[in-house]
Symmetry: C2
Subunit: 316 residues, 2 copies
């Protein structure tokens, strides 16, 4: 049986790790601030897939107390990557696969530097899910994971180890999709994250406020097109029909506060480099300068830096 480690038991790690554990898989959870609470009360997951409670999950406060696993899932935010190398060295053996479920571009690199790029997979999660209290996850909508190989050795292939992960996740009721060209999936997710995460912070606005204002929705669309041109410069395609659909879906969505805005308002660091800086630098290296993405990046760097002046402790 495949053993899983969930590195960061927040909304995303709690949901997917919880579903795997409920289905009987071996799952080891790394926690920080919620450790004592979960030790006493377990993990509670409200989900459209059927609410459940894990009474005695395998939980750890320190990575070095965890066993070696077959699949290590990086589920914390990129802003919490400081502990990544130490943690992976604790939980990985030479065959361990690291699945990075973080937002942005090039987010597999830090894990690849520790375990080698051919042991790393990357995934994008399309889900509405929040941690509403210690050890308490609320999953509201969506939930698909699309993932693929990050290293050159396996590039463009759906490998056996991917198929094994798909099988485990599907027995747990998780919507998971393997992708041969995973980089295109990352760019497609960025086509939403860059305008709506970014503008939600700079304009202090939810999706509905942005989409119902002519100037702000025009800007969101301009930013999407810059993501499309950046992707094209880097060799990935984001279809125009995809952009139209993202805009239309967002227009119809219930007003949604991006997790980046929630982090910003709670004075937690925001993922400026992975979601904005990395795609910007990739585009510039490929010969295209996305001027509005660059401006958004500079605005967010300023706001994040000022916000950190009164930072509250991370909780993962």
């Amino acid at each position: 049986m495949t053993a899983y480690a969930i590195l960061g038991t927040g909304a995303l790690g709690g949901l997917y790790g919880g579903l795997l554990a409920r289905a009987g898989h071996e799952v080891h959870f790394l926690l920080r601030s919620d450790y004592d609470h979960v030790r006493q009360h377990g993990i509670l997951v409200d989900t459209t897939l059927g609410d459940f409670h894990l009474d005695q999950p395998n939980i750890y406060r320190r990575a070095c107390d965890m066993p070696k696993v077959d699949v290590a899932i990086v589920a914390w935010k990129t802003t919490q990557n400081d502990a990544l190398a130490t943690t992976l060295n604790c939980v990985c053996h030479s065959e361990t696969v690291v699945l990075v479920l973080q937002n942005g571009l090039d987010v597999e690199r830090p894990a690849a530097e520790v375990v080698g790029e051919n042991q790393v997979l990357g995934g994008c999660c399309f889900l509405c899910c929040n941690k509403v209290g210690p050890g308490h996850i609320r999953h509201m909508d969506y939930g698909r994971i699309t993932f693929g190989e990050a290293g050159r050795e396996h590039a463009g292939r759906i490998t056996n180890r991917m198929q094994a992960i798909v099988a485990d996740f599907r027995t747990a009721g998780i919507d998971i999709q393997p992708a041969a060209d995973f980089t295109a999936v990352r760019w497609r997710k960025l086509a939403w994250n860059i305008p709506f995460n970014g503008l939600s912070v700079v304009l202090d606005a939810d999706t509905n406020q942005v989409m119902s204002d002519p100037a702000a929705s025009q800007l969101a669309e301009d930013l999407m097109h810059e993501v499309q041109l950046s992707a094209a410069a880097c060799g990935s395609m984001v279809e125009e029909s995809e952009i139209r659909k993202l805009l239309e879906d967002t227009r119809k969505m219930v007003p949604y506060d991006s997790s980046m805005r929630l982090d910003y308002l709670a004075r937690r660091p925001i993922e400026v480099e992975s979601i904005f800086g990395n795609p910007l630098r990739a585009a510039i290296d490929a010969g295209y300068v996305p001027a509005k993405i660059e401006m958004l990046y500079h605005q967010l760097r300023f706001l994040d830096e000022r916000n950190r002046g009164t930072e509250s402790p991370n909780s993962i």
Copy 2:
């Protein structure tokens, strides 16, 4: 003797009109919210040029009660231009010259549509001055007016009527400079107003916060260069040395809240169209798209629109 009308007795109108009146010129002030206070207490001006008080200035609540004048000075903000046509029709005879002392580009056009472009002059004021109470003006620093002819008939010339205005203003102690190529002066002022007024609102930051942050100061510089390229597309030159000097002066300036930020925080309308929309459209018409100015314009339109939801009454 030349008769002057001051249309809008705020910081700028109160200062320059007050100085002219103190020097013995015939000055007629149009007021709205401060009328009753000024009728009782006069106008008080604290200025580096020597504090003074006008006991009984010629004041009017309604433009139609004012006499026809030789020079009508438009001293309110472009956001208060609704009353412009009515007001000019009241105070102008066929030879009246209208001097528009407003920020932005193409701000002479509304006056030109009323009195004809060849009767209009435009001016830029470089000054630190606030209205600190009803009929109470505080002038802190700078004060130069640079102005020129706005109409095609007199384009590129320093006309006799300009010389007459220069003479009157200088007897009143005002630093005034006639310019043959006045449009270049407007672009040079925009090279400061666009980055620092705009970012002060979007980032909720004073000049010092912008200049001391690497990302925000880079963005300010990028925006200045877009103003430079916009000016060039429209046939005006902003020298690179001018940009370096503006940045250096702003870095050394005491932390300064732009009047646009003060207006925004007080929930008054901000001058989005004259300072951002007009230069943007001029550049695009000339074949250059300043992407970051366009983005700032869309952000400010969104913020201004939302801010107007709880607008407080104008006071001019």
